[in-house]
Each structure stands twice: as structure tokens, then as C-alpha cells.
């Protein structure tokens, strides 16, 4: 990385004095050429590369699809401040998706869609833009359409509470890349959870209208909550090999955090059951709601129209 400086070292009265000066935050995951620069991408002993790649796609697709949904708020949020906050969260998740899809491609190139010879599209973009609905492995909580702001706050609270617990454990992965991605993501997700938790509390204790909207959003998303803790065979294998996390083991920790937010907000945990799958197949198997198809159509249309495009 070139040594870029924008200020004199003794510039004390400028809040922006730290801008663009190299430090650890810029060292990993921000390289525009190679997202995995600086991390050992060797697949650990005893780990099946194809299974590791599929596991990375699961976590990467969660972030990618969630990011795309949240990004729909850009220019549509209730306030300028919320617009920026939601865009920041979407960008954090997009960064996580990029690293995880790049890790999937590095572990098993066979899962990366083929493009015309000479296409400059990098592997992580091929995975994001050239796979079809049934190849996406995200949980369905990430894909259902946006409702109002209260529903989005609720979705971010549910998603980040679960993903933070997952990443805290994943930061001890035997896979150096997954451990690094998780360690970086923990800080981001801690903020997402804090942001959503505060808004959840504010809306729950705000006006009758804000509370009604929040409860409706929670009711709508609740059937998708249980799926986050259902262990897929790929997750079980990754956990057994010491590279991944078995989500079923997160239940107690995640519930404790969520119950704390619900209690502070005076909101009861909904009691209706989970949304089923088709023949037991769920998001992790590539079985999705109709909403993912239209989301991908919008997200992928430009890249697919220009398979040799350089961005």
C-alpha cells in the first residue's frame, strides 16, 4: 500500500487529521485488487476444500443479500441521518460478503461460475452476480422484502444479534481467513446490534404508532428466526473440522441478548412457529421465498449484461 499522508504530524486542531493515514484498519480487506491480501489462504489440514467453500458461501450470501436489502433504503430512509446509518451497515455487510465469497473461490475454484475467456470479472463478483437463485445459500431472514423502518430495525436486530454470536466463535476458526474475517466483522456487527437495539427500544417506547409498527415487523419476521439455528450438514461438518460454527450451539447466548432487548422494550417474544421449508429444504439448501429472485434480478442485471465489463 502506498504511504498516503494528508496532514502535518502536529496538526492538532483538525478532526480530520487522521484521514487516509495508514493504520491497521486499512490493512486487511480494503485492498482493491486482492481482497485476501495479507492473510494465509491455505486450506487447513483435514478440511474438504469444497465443503469449506460452500460454508463460506452460506455466510457470504447472508451478508450479500442482507446488504442488498438494506441498501434499498439509500435515499429512502425517514431521515438523512438514518439514510447514512443504514448505508454504512449495508456497506459493512457488503465488505464481509466480498471477503467470504473470495475465500469460497480461493478454497474451491470449481464453484465459481465460468465466464467468457478474457473476462476481467473477479471470482467474488462471479459468485455474486452469476449464480442463480437455487445456488444462493443465505437464510431467508435476509431476503424477504423490506417493510417500514420499524421492520428493518427489527430485521437488523435479529440478524446482527445472531451473526455477532456466530462471528465471535468463528474468530477462533482454524481457517486463518475465516478467523480474520470474523475478527474484523465482530466490531462492525457490535455496532449494528447496538444501533438496531437502541432504535428498537426507541420505537417500542415511542408513540402508539411506532410501537404498533414495531410489533407488526417482529410478528412478520419471527417465522424466519428459527431457521438461523437449524444446523445444515455443511455447517455441522465445518464445525466438526474446527473451521466453522454450529448455529444450534448459539441459541442460549443469542436468546439471552434478544430477551434483554425485548424486556427493556416491554415487548413479548412472539409465540407463533417457524416457517417451514419445501420437503425439509430451507435457505441453506437453496430453497428460497419468491422475493430472492426479484432481488437478484435487480442486483445482477448490469453485471450479466456486461460479462466482460470492468468496473
Amino acid at each position: 500500500m502506498p504511504d498516503v499522508r494528508t496532514h502535518e504530524p502536529d496538526d492538532h486542531d483538525n478532526a480530520y487529521a487522521g484521514l487516509l493515514v495508514n493504520d491497521v484498519h486499512w490493512a486487511f480487506g480494503t485492498d482493491f485488487e486482492d481482497p485476501l491480501a495479507g492473510v494465509d489462504a491455505t486450506v487447513p489440514d483435514g478440511v474438504e476444500p469444497a465443503a469449506l467453500a460452500t460454508y463460506c458461501l452460506m455466510l457470504g450470501d447472508d451478508a450479500l443479500v442482507m446488504s442488498q436489502r438494506i441498501a434499498e433504503w439509500c435515499s429512502n430512509a425517514p431521515d438523512l441521518e438514518e439514510d447514512i446509518a443504514l448505508s454504512n451497515i449495508a456497506l459493512d455487510l457488503l465488505g464481509q460478503a466480498r471477503l467470504l465469497l473470495a475465500r469460497a473461490a480461493a478454497a474451491d475454484g470449481a464453484q465459481v461460475p465460468a465466464l467468457p475467456d478474457g473476462s476481467p470479472v473477479p471470482d467474488e463478483d462471479r459468485l455474486a452476480y452469476f449464480r442463480d437463485v437455487a445456488q444462493f445459500r443465505n437464510v431467508r431472514l435476509a431476503e424477504v422484502p423490506n417493510g417500514d423502518f420499524a421492520q428493518t430495525v427489527t430485521r437488523i436486530l435479529l440478524f446482527s444479534t445472531w451473526r455477532l454470536a456466530l462471528f465471535e466463535e468463528l474468530s477462533r476458526s482454524r481457517d486463518a481467513v475465516l478467523a480474520a474475517v470474523a475478527a474484523k466483522g465482530v466490531k462492525e456487527l457490535t455496532y449494528h446490534r447496538d444501533f438496531a437495539g437502541r432504535w428498537f427500544l426507541t420505537l417500542a417506547r415511542g408513540t402508539a404508532d411506532s410501537r404498533r409498527r414495531l410489533l407488526a415487523g417482529l410478528d412478520e419476521l419471527w417465522p424466519l428466526w428459527a431457521e438461523l439455528f437449524e444446523t445444515h450438514d455443511v455447517e455441522r461438518a465445518a464445525s466438526g473440522a474446527g473451521v466453522g460454527v454450529d448455529p444450534a450451539g448459539l441459541t442460549a447466548d443469542v436468546d439471552a441478548v434478544l430477551d434483554q432487548v425485548l424486556a427493556a422494550s416491554g415487548v413479548d417474544r412472539p409465540d407463533h412457529g417457524p416457517l417451514g421449508g419445501a420437503h425439509g429444504r430451507r435457505g441453506r439448501d437453496g430453497h428460497h421465498t419468491g422475493a430472492l429472485g426479484s432481488l437478484l434480478e435487480e442486483m445482477q442485471v448490469v453485471a450479466r449484461a456486461h460479462p466482460r465489463g470492468q468496473w
Binding site: P9, D11, D13, A15, G18, D23, E81, I84, T202, D209
Partner: protein
């Protein structure tokens, strides 16, 4: 928004201390529903390019500001008092931030 909900959030002033800064510097203002969310908004709006290590927010209504009309009585009298500036002292080379 329904009728009884006010669309107007109070205005806050934001002060950020940079990595190498000694003091918090005013960087701008924003709207927020309460103090804690004002802090989160300030983080999102004013520190997204790695600018800060500390943030203060304060309601704009809590700030008492001098008026431009008072400029002369407040500031002009100090203009010709050169003896108030410590320019007649030697400052040792190892004293920083003077």
C-alpha cells in the same frame, strides 16, 4: 407519519476529537430523537472515514452563542493590546503545542 408525531427532531452540535487531536473540534450538526441516538448518528455521519477517537454531542439549544452585533464590544478592544501576547518571552524548543 401520523398527525400527533412530530417530524422534527432536535438539532445537535457534534464535536470530534481526531486521532492526533488534543481537543474536540466542532465538525457540524445533525438531527436525532435523543442524546444516545445523536451519538450514533454522529458516528455514522462524521466518523465514517476513520476520523475520530471520541465524540461529543450537545443539543444546539443548550449553546449560548455570541451575536455578530456584539463583535466590536467583545473583540475589538483586544486588538491593540500587544502586551497580552507572550511574544516577549523565549519559548524553550522542547515545549510543545504553543
Amino acid at each position: 407519519m401520523t398527525g400527533q408525531v412530530s417530524g422534527e427532531w432536535p438539532l445537535y452540535e457534534v464535536f470530534v476529537r481526531g486521532k492526533r487531536g488534543l481537543n474536540h473540534v466542532h465538525v457540524g450538526s445533525l438531527h436525532a430523537p435523543d442524546d444516545q441516538l445523536a451519538l450514533r448518528h454522529a458516528r455514522d455521519v462524521y466518523t465514517r472515514r476513520n476520523e475520530g477517537v471520541s465524540i461529543w454531542v450537545v443539543r444546539s439549544s443548550a449553546i449560548t452563542a455570541s451575536s455578530p452585533d456584539e463583535k466590536d464590544p467583545l473583540f475589538a478592544p483586544s486588538g491593540d493590546k500587544v502586551y497580552r501576547h507572550p511574544t516577549f518571552y523565549e519559548i524553550p524548543a522542547d515545549v510543545p503545542h504553543m
